[in-house]
């Protein structure tokens, strides 16, 4: 198995897009290819995350047409679907293909046009990645799932629910502040100065989660070019290495022991750390799946950055902000940057690469640049989890 590097990255503006998914993915891909200094003829396979294209544009099999739009020739092009973790599992498999020796240069990323669907239909299609036989007739929604997790968190750690809500609000405040500084974010120059009361008093979606506890629906795409580590310096002075990955699968919600400790995430992260031969203390920056404020707290604990039940208070104390113990979602995360679900994992990796090159927006960039970083992406109600650990140097 060979070491793998990322040599080029691309990312469209997140928000509402008038372009088609094929155009959005092409835009991100061409940026990534230009960034790497490679051309279409160099690409040997395409790995594309896309969760709901059939509902958004009546388009299935978007990967094949994405390769065609770029004139990549009759190469293997495969769509990956792991709900909101689609792009991360695509990138993970792309890295495997390069690592195995099957391919020497591949394109990986994701695309989504969720905002186009409108709130009611988007909520319906997102809820399809719940366990339909048991959760379908209940009318469960994703905010509903994480609202149930929040209540379990408060109960489990004997915390008054209002106190947890105030601490969760700091996730939204932080991620919106950084999203407002990110020119590619859906909320660029918007909502950058939230207060706790703005979050807790906004419209109730699923008690105790308000609108400001939730990430938005979004359109957008992101893409990366990967090649063997040994070739990376031919293309760029700043390759970023894929040091370890992990993937895990969950179950119907009712079969989970504890919504605040999803085994799928704990296991996936553990494998990624083992492969990378690193520990949480080595990681300088996180891009993690803050689909809801409570989701960020649960992820921080599952990944081992804080003790069980401690992430809420740590977040309120600024330990996950710039200058804190572990800067988290300096891109704005899903909450501030937007969440085009099939693209999100690729966007997380994009911002990790930008951080490691010192090219993140002022106010979001870590100084000095981080040596090691990690992404965490969650699909469904803990159904698909994926982790990618990246570094500026090979281990």
């Amino acid at each position: 198995m060979r070491d793998v590097a990322i040599i080029g990255v691309g990312h469209t503006k997140f928000g509402r897009a008038s372009k088609t998914s094929l155009e959005l993915f092409s835009e991100a891909s061409l940026q990534a290819m230009d960034d790497a200094g490679v051309v279409g003829a160099d690409i040997e396979a395409l790995f594309q995350g896309a969760a709901l294209p059939g509902f958004e544009e009546g388009q299935v099999m978007p990967a094949a047409f994405s390769a065609a739009e770029l004139n990549l020739g009759p190469i293997p092009a495969t769509r990956y679907e792991g709900a909101c973790a689609s792009a991360s599992v695509a990138i993970r498999d792309a890295a495997m293909w390069v690592s195995s020796g099957e391919c020497d240069m591949v394109l990986a990323g994701g695309v989504e046009k969720a905002l186009t669907m409108g709130t009611a239909f988007a909520t319906r299609t997102f809820a399809m990645s719940c366990h339909t036989p048991t959760e379908g007739a209940v009318g469960l929604t994703f905010p509903g799932v994480f609202a149930m997790a929040a209540r379990q968190y408060a109960k489990g750690y004997d915390m008054p629910l209002d106190s947890l809500r105030e601490k969760m609000a700091h996730v939204s405040i932080k991620n919106h502040r950084h999203g407002a500084l990110n020119p590619l974010a859906q909320f660029y120059k918007k909502i950058g100065n939230l207060k706790v009361e703005d979050v807790v008093n906004s419209m109730m979606v699923a008690d105790p989660l308000t609108l400001m506890d939730c990430c938005p629906f979004s359109d957008g795409a992101a893409a990366l070019v990967l090649c063997p580590a040994e070739d990376a310096k031919k293309y760029t002075d700043d390759p970023v290495y894929v040091l370890g990955t992990g993937q895990g699968s969950g179950s119907a919600l009712s079969k989970m022991e504890d919504l605040t400790k999803p085994v799928s995430r704990i296991q996936s992260a553990k494998v990624a750390f083992k492969r990378a031969r690193l520990e949480p203390k080595d990681i300088g920056i996180l891009e993690l799946h803050d689909c809801f404020t409570i989701a960020e707290l649960i992820a921080l604990e599952c990944l081992g950055f804080f003790e069980w039940g401690k992430a809420a208070e740590a977040t309120a104390q600024g330990e996950t902000d710039l200058g804190g113990k572990i800067p988290t979602n300096m891109s704005g995360g899903l909450i501030g940057k937007g969440h085009p679900i099939g693209a999100t994992g690729a966007s997380q990796v994009y911002w990790m690469v930008k951080q490691m090159r010192g090219e993140a927006a002022k106010g979001n960039q870590i100084d000095p640049v981080p040596e090691y970083g990690m992404t965490d992406t969650l699909g469904g109600d803990f159904g698909t989890l994926c982790h990618i650990i990246l570094g500026r140097t090979k281990k």
Binding site: T123, T132, P133, V138, G139, P143, L161, M203, K255
Partner: protein, 151 residues
């Protein structure tokens, strides 16, 4: 001559791997019964039904009826519904740990004003079903259990 007799192939196909189908589970709910499966190997109860024991993966499972008694482990009050559930708002999805062991998801029948954090840990009993008429993606009528606080 290579090839297999059609009767032999048909015989192989007749083997049943599912002791309680989801459709039969829903029929049970409509009749006021929470059905599950008892494992011959570990004695554990599986609910919702699966082809293997949810605790030990054994395949020797027998249909049983659960008491319908349990304890609320968490819940929420949904104010923004997905398409098809707008008329139900507000409604209360909940997770219930049954007396027999497995957890099931359903709805809680209570006034939303009373649905505060103290509801977690309270004893509930199966008290009917909630019916969803389906949509073009999930066709047909589907049901989930509805629980009521005891006492």
């Amino acid at each position: 001559m290579v090839g297999k007799e059609q009767e032999e192939i048909e015989k192989e196909l007749s083997k049943e791997y599912v002791a309680l189908t989801y459709a039969d589970y829903e029929v049970g709910l409509k009749g006021g019964k929470l059905l599950g499966l008892k494992c011959a190997a570990c004695g554990g109860i599986t609910c919702h039904p699966m082809p293997v024991c949810q605790w030990c993966s054994d395949r020797h499972l027998e249909k049983v009826e659960l008491s319908g008694d349990g304890e609320v482990t968490t819940f929420t009050v949904i104010r923004v519904a997905s398409e098809g559930f707008e008329d139900d708002v507000p409604y209360i999805p909940c997770l219930v740990k049954t007396k027999e062991g497995p957890c099931v998801i359903g709805r809680l029948d209570m006034a939303v004003e009373s649905a505060t954090q103290e509801v977690i840990g309270t004893q509930v009993k199966l008290d009917g079903i909630s019916t969803y008429n389906g949509d073009k993606f999930f066709s047909g009528e589907h049901v989930c259990p509805v629980f009521k606080i005891v006492g």
